[in-house]
């Protein structure tokens, strides 16, 4: 099952359909709701409103208000309610409208959900899923454009995944719902409309803790996740066409556990690593990757590991300022060319 899931696109023998990332998420939710009566959805506007970003559209009508539960604006309350229900063996899938709002429930995630397994000696589990979009690019400004991926990936006891494609959106959300530990599923506002070939087999999943090579190359490795992977792939195609440079893109898919083996194998091959992320790079995912790459690939590195993220300012509103601050294609392309000595 997972072998098939990881077969490169084009060689997979399983039946797929083209759909958006949003539709793939909805398909995962529908399949898991249908398969397991312990699964229920809870969050702001998930039911009557059909979801703030329409991921849960139609599910209330199909499964009823007990399985698709609207909540008040009360993240600490309903994330905590998810923790409690999960401790009793239910499988809540809590939607947070955007990652920015998860901060007000931080205590329930970091100091409660993540602690349950270890702190109680393994006698209780917390099979809770929190799914939420992060990211910037829609002029949503400083308080609504953030990527706090590392805040949660920092915490032992948590699992954090961040699908970059429709295929993995379905596969990772299904894995998260079936997992017996708390899993944060980081979606992305700009990914919701991205299309991909999504396996239709309800038993298909993307395993947690397994990165994949999204594009093969020999000159440099870009390590990325979520929307940064889309950017990286676009830049890689352009560099190939315009400069004859072949960039390999490793899409992390999971942040905790982090598949360092796949990253290290790629960097050992190319000798160069550029870590790209949507959020601020200081103390970020790229910082963690850099530390691990320099250790695992010490003898194979031809250049210092580089990081690229959002400019370290609260994101401004004006479109030109926002674009300049994000890890846009121009910035990624320039970074690659510099690392290869092809630009100053």
């Amino acid at each position: 099952m997972t072998m098939l899931a990881d077969a490169p696109a084009g060689r997979t023998p399983i039946e797929t359909a083209s759909m958006t990332y949003r539709e793939a998420l909805r398909m995962a939710l529908r399949e898991e709701l249908a398969a397991d009566e312990r699964v229920f959805i809870m969050g702001e506007e998930v039911g009557v409103f059909d979801g703030a970003y329409k991921v849960t559209a139609g599910l209330l009508a199909e499964f009823g208000a007990d399985r698709v539960r609207d909540t008040p604006i009360s993240e600490e309350g309903f994330v905590g309610a998810g923790v409690g229900a999960a401790m009793l063996g239910e499988r809540p899938v809590v939607e947070i409208m955007t990652l920015n709002f998860l901060l007000v429930a931080m205590d329930q995630v970091v100091n409660h959900a993540a602690k349950i397994g270890a702190m109680f000696g393994g006698q209780l589990r917390c099979p809770l899923v929190i799914r939420t979009p992060n990211g910037a690019g829609n002029q949503l400004t400083a308080q609504h454009s953030q990527s706090f991926d590392q805040y949660f990936a920092h915490v032992p006891g948590m699992k954090v995944v961040a699908p970059a494609s429709a295929t993995d959106a379905k596969g990772l959300l299904k894995s998260a719902i079936r997992d017996d530990d708390p899993v944060l599923v980081l979606e992305n506002l700009r990914l919701y409309t991205e299309k991909g070939d999504v396996p239709l087999d309800p038993s298909h999943t993307t395993p947690i803790g397994l990165a994949h090579v999204a594009r093969e190359g020999s000159d440099l490795t870009i390590v990325s996740h979520s929307y940064a992977t889309v950017r990286a792939r676009q830049v890689a195609e352009r560099l190939s066409a315009e400069h004859g440079v072949e960039v390999e893109v490793v899409d992390l898919r999971s942040l905790r556990p982090l598949d360092v083996e796949t990253v290290a194998a790629s960097v050992s091959k190319t000798g160069r690593a550029l870590c790209v992320e949507e959020g601020w790079a200081t103390y970020g995912v790229g910082a963690e990757l850099a530390a691990r790459i320099q250790h695992a690939c010490f003898d194979d590195l031809d250049a210092p590991v580089e990081r690229l993220g959002m400019a370290e300012v609260p994101l401004p509103y004006a479109k030109n300022l926002e674009t300049a601050a994000l890890p846009n294609a121009g910035r990624i392309e320039r970074a690659v060319l510099r690392m290869l000595g092809l630009a100053r």
């Binding site: 009823g64 208000a65 063996g89 999971s254 360092v260 083996e261 695992a296």
Partner: protein, 383 residues
């Protein structure tokens, strides 16, 4: 397990069931005679349970000062009546959640004293296997879903446990203990709102011992009659003299039964007092006087029950024998804890992740921080 519809909005039912404009009954608060107190609540068994809690707390302080117990250690001496009453009002399938002043509740719920003391000692047979300590006692088999250490953090969780009970079609209720300091947290507001909005079977038991750490209720709460705050959620609230065993038992039983049979949440404020400081490290005198403590000790719940039992015809010797038995249990618990081995360091990460997770983490090893391989990856991660 039968599932049931937990989503039906029932605001009308709430309004009919409970007029929150009316003040709730205040049973025996402030030392007044308990209204509707169950006569004959004083029994030798309950007395012995209360003494056991007092003895274990007293011994815990001694062991803490002898450095056999570490960390924070919050004692509940003085709060035994409401503690024993609340635990007794629970049925075996009901669930209990508490804050961090939890030794008494654990004992009253039936957690073996050896498992409690071994946990305080940080030993292998502790009820949290040496991972939790004083603040994080639990006993899943007995429906005790944890002592929790962040003020009010357990309230949303209790609400979720109650939601889980309803979803599973179980006729049980959750008792959520909290301190008077917790009612000023946002989590209190959010948890009570959801519990009332969704008609969840949970009773929030506010142990009002007068002080959130060193800040009195009057200095912390704009509405110091804490039970009244339930009215903000159209939820039933009432206050009971938590040092009066009969009244406490009656109130806990009634509200839990109401939660079970009618799916109506409630707030029960139990007025009591803690004799010791906030924790063992606090002498408890910076914010209150010795006279105040002495005055409150005159209302001692254990002495009250003892007097009632004597008046009811029991002999001093019978009560002394109960005292002796409780002391012997605590002594045996200490001996057990002392002899119990420490947890195995090769199991440092045991329980953190669900079985099967080791495979998910296997590819994370390269470049890990020093010693992670030995301590975590080989230390039971996901096994």
């Amino acid at each position: 397990m039968p599932r049931s519809d937990s989503a039906a909005p029932t605001a009308d039912r709430r309004a009919l069931a409970d007029s929150s404009d009316e003040p709730g009954p205040v049973a025996g608060a402030g030392g007044a005679p308990a209204k509707g107190a169950a006569g004959g609540a004083a029994t030798i068994e309950r007395y012995e349970r209360m003494v056991l809690i007092r003895e274990l707390e007293t011994e815990s302080e001694r062991q803490y000062k002898a450095a056999r117990i570490g960390g924070y250690c919050h004692l509940s001496s003085g709060q035994e009546a409401i503690t024993v009453a609340a635990a007794e009002a629970l049925r075996s399938d009901d669930l209990l959640v508490t804050g961090y002043r939890s030794h008494g509740f654990a004992l009253a719920r039936g957690v073996p004293p050896e498992a409690v003391m071994a946990e305080l000692f940080g030993r292998r047979s502790g009820c949290a296997r040496g991972r939790g300590g004083s603040m994080h006692l639990l006993d899943v088999e007995r429906g005790y879903y944890g002592g929790w250490g962040i003020v009010a953090g357990q309230l949303p969780i209790a609400t979720g446990l109650a939601l889980g009970l309803v979803r599973q079609g179980r006729p049980d209720a959750v008792l959520c203990e909290l301190g008077d300091g917790a009612v000023n947290m946002g989590a209190w507001h959010e948890a009570l709102n959801l519990a009332a909005l969704w008609d969840l079977p949970v009773v929030f038991l506010v142990i009002n011992n007068g002080y959130g750490m060193g800040t009195s209720v009057e200095r912390a709460s704009a509405e110091p009659e804490l039970w009244r705050r339930a009215s903000a959620f159209r939820m039933h609230g009432e206050r009971v003299d938590g040092d009066e065993l009969g009244a406490s038992l009656e109130a806990c039983e009634r509200l839990l039964e109401r939660a079970r049979s009618e799916r109506l949440p409630a707030v029960l404020e139990a007025v009591t007092y803690r004799y010791r400081g906030h924790s063992v490290a606090d002498a408890g005198l910076a914010y209150r006087t010795k006279d105040e403590v002495a005055t409150r000790r005159e209302r001692d719940p254990i002495a009250r029950v003892r007097r009632e039992l004597l008046a009811g015809g029991l002999a001093e010797a019978q009560l002394d024998a109960a005292d002796e038995r409780a002391r012997a249990v605590v002594e045996a618990a200490c001996a057990f804890a002392e002899a119990d081995p420490e947890p195995d360091v090769t199991e440092l990460a045991a329980g953190m992740h669900a079985p099967g997770s080791a495979q998910q983490f296997a590819r994370m090893l390269p470049g890990s921080p020093l010693d992670e391989r030995e301590l975590v990856f080989a230390g039971g991660l996901g096994s």
